[in-house]
């Protein structure tokens, strides 16, 4: 692990990491990937998010999709857990609620592959200062 020795080091590391993220999300880039963020805080896990996370992880690879599954904290939509945010490069991110393994399959086949939206999308009702 690289030790961060000065503030300048930290800032350099930040820029490199941000570039990596931009590459991930840029649709023009051949290395761009679909990011599936699964809410894995206690409310999500209690509703079955771990299963959903594993499913996306395994199935995207099995179906030869260029995608990564990331665990994130509470998105705040506790009434609709498990929630999953899908970022397809070049498109606005979409949050799906009430995701179980069956819905996860639909998300992969219909939304990620074909761009078809599904019922049960949760419209974002907040803005983060970090966006």
């Amino acid at each position: 692990m690289a030790k961060v020795k000065t503030l300048a080091d930290l800032r350099k590391m930040k820029r490199e990491l941000q570039t990596k993220i931009q590459v991930r999300e840029n649709a023009e880039n051949p290395e761009s990937v679909v990011q599936v963020k699964v809410g894995m805080a206690t409310s999500g896990i209690a509703s079955g998010a771990k299963e959903v996370y594993s499913y996306f992880n395994e199935e995207m690879a099995k179906r030869n999709l260029n995608g990564i599954t990331i665990q994130v904290g509470d998105m705040g939509y506790c009434y609709a857990e498990p929630t999953v945010e899908v970022l397809v490069p070049g498109k606005d991110s979409v949050v799906f609620g009430y995701v179980d393994v069956k819905k996860a399959d639909e998300i992969i086949e219909k939304y990620i592959k074909e761009g078809e939206l599904l019922d049960g999308i949760i419209p974002p009702n907040y803005q983060s200062i970090n966006e």
């Binding site: 000065t6 503030l7 990491l17 665990q71 705040g76 939206l117 419209p123 907040y126």
Partner: protein, 590 residues
Amino acid sequence: MHMMVCGGTACRASESDIIVEKMKKELEYRQLDKDVQVVITGCFGLCEKGPIVKMLPDNTIYTGVKPSDVTKIIDEHIIKGRKVESLLFADPTKAETDSQYIDSHKKQIRIALRNCGFINPEAIDDYIAANGYEALGKCLEEYTPEQTIDIIKKSGLRGRGGGGFPTGLKWGFAAKSKGDQKYVVCNADEGDPGAFMDRSILEGDPHSVLEAMAICGYTMGADQGLIYIRAEYPLAIERLQIAIKQAREYGLLGEDILGSGFNFDIQLRLGAGAFVCGEETALIHSMEGLRGEPTIKPPFPAESGYNDKPTNVNNVETFANIPAIINKGADWFASIGTEKSTGTKVFALAGKINNVGLIEVPMGTTLREVIFEIGGGIKDGKKFKAVQTGGPSGGCLTEKHLDTPIDFDNLIAAGSMMGSGGMIVMDEDDCMVSMAKFYLDFTVEESCGKCAPCRIGNKRLYETLDKITQGKGTEDDLDLLRNMSHVIKDTSLCGLGQTSPNPVLSTLDNFWDEYVAHVKDHKCEAGQCKSLLQYNIIADDCVGCTACARVCPVGCIAGEKKEVHIIDQSICIKCGACMDKCKFNAIELI
């Protein structure tokens, strides 16, 4: 092209699902269904303006849409590519797009929760990419400890754990105190029932707390941080442990951080299930290995705390705001919220509300906006009765308080308090006397027992409330409740006792009629106090089969064969056997 129709409960009540049905049918009929997809979404949080329809990819938003508008939308928007002006959300004469308008009108701004749900909490790289540890670096490199404290003072940040004490001032006291060893403590005990704000921050963005504690240590001259976290949060504990390990590996905790010569490290201390250990002196004693009992203040922890050394204790959410304030500036933070309560507050919305979850709103947002817009309104279309804020230390706010802007002082003036952020919504089926009893049950259990007013007084309050809900209360009991509550508040040693009577006083003030009905008429309007309910034989439906009379264990049902039977309420023991036996549904509970 996509059409998103809001399927939130309020919009559904205004026929949004019929809009979807009609839209799909008509699109199919006109052979446009392959080009336009219609989906139902969750709540947009714009319930006042519903039903909401959002068109993609142009992001146009229509409000107040009716099933009769479906044809218009298809003709104008889909076929001719023109917006339907009469339904537009934003003012078409202004330059703002609908998305921009909505963004600027979004009721929530996430500061403390800025990274929750966006980054992987177990990856320090994610945190760094999101500006992590920049604030710590800035303080170490560009600001003196005094300048850093000034920034926090200027921001107006007040403690988010419930006390609302100005954070900059607190840090200033700790900085001034003399001691060969000083400590920074994070209060992650979060004992309020139903509150999970701190848990979400620790599970979703643990580094923000670590960074803030290091900044605090820098300002006060402490090289040791302690996080007191309740053992009931295993996931948060795990994520904190991972975060601390990673921060150490990167040299962001430990010795000579970022080459500045400043040392700071953090340890975890686990709580053992005591609500009272959320009180800072009890917390400190618990960490020292003593029984979690509060001690009198002064001396305050800033002067003499952990191991009698100067200690600064802050809540998780308070800390979570610090890096954002340093990075974006005190003026920016102070521009959000109200004059005396700057910034935002995280609330855990729970109870009889549709959109249960975590929200973060600027101070000054009204209760109405929180409950009926962001929260999506009351579940099952029932009537709003009250909202409890501040947990066992708070009071309830009613219909007349709904337009109160939320901030520290306004909520206290309204007879409640902000507390740590738990907000429990109640409807017409909730009994306020039972609610007060529930909280007293909790505080009686959690009282450390050190001082008589809390130990004995709260128990008496609970017993009296229990008596009332059993139908054995008298009007004298109501006076007892009020007088005892004031005595307990005035004479208890710590915050637990000083605030435990609040639910009682608040419900007595706002729901006096309900209490009187319980003691005078022995009636519970909400139907929750089972002992006050009566089994009643419906004369019109009773055929006089005598089955109920025969099964009654106390023989309180009288009636001849083929004649309407009647229950003697003075003997009835409310066992329910009669209702179970009746084949004609002629017995009801009222």
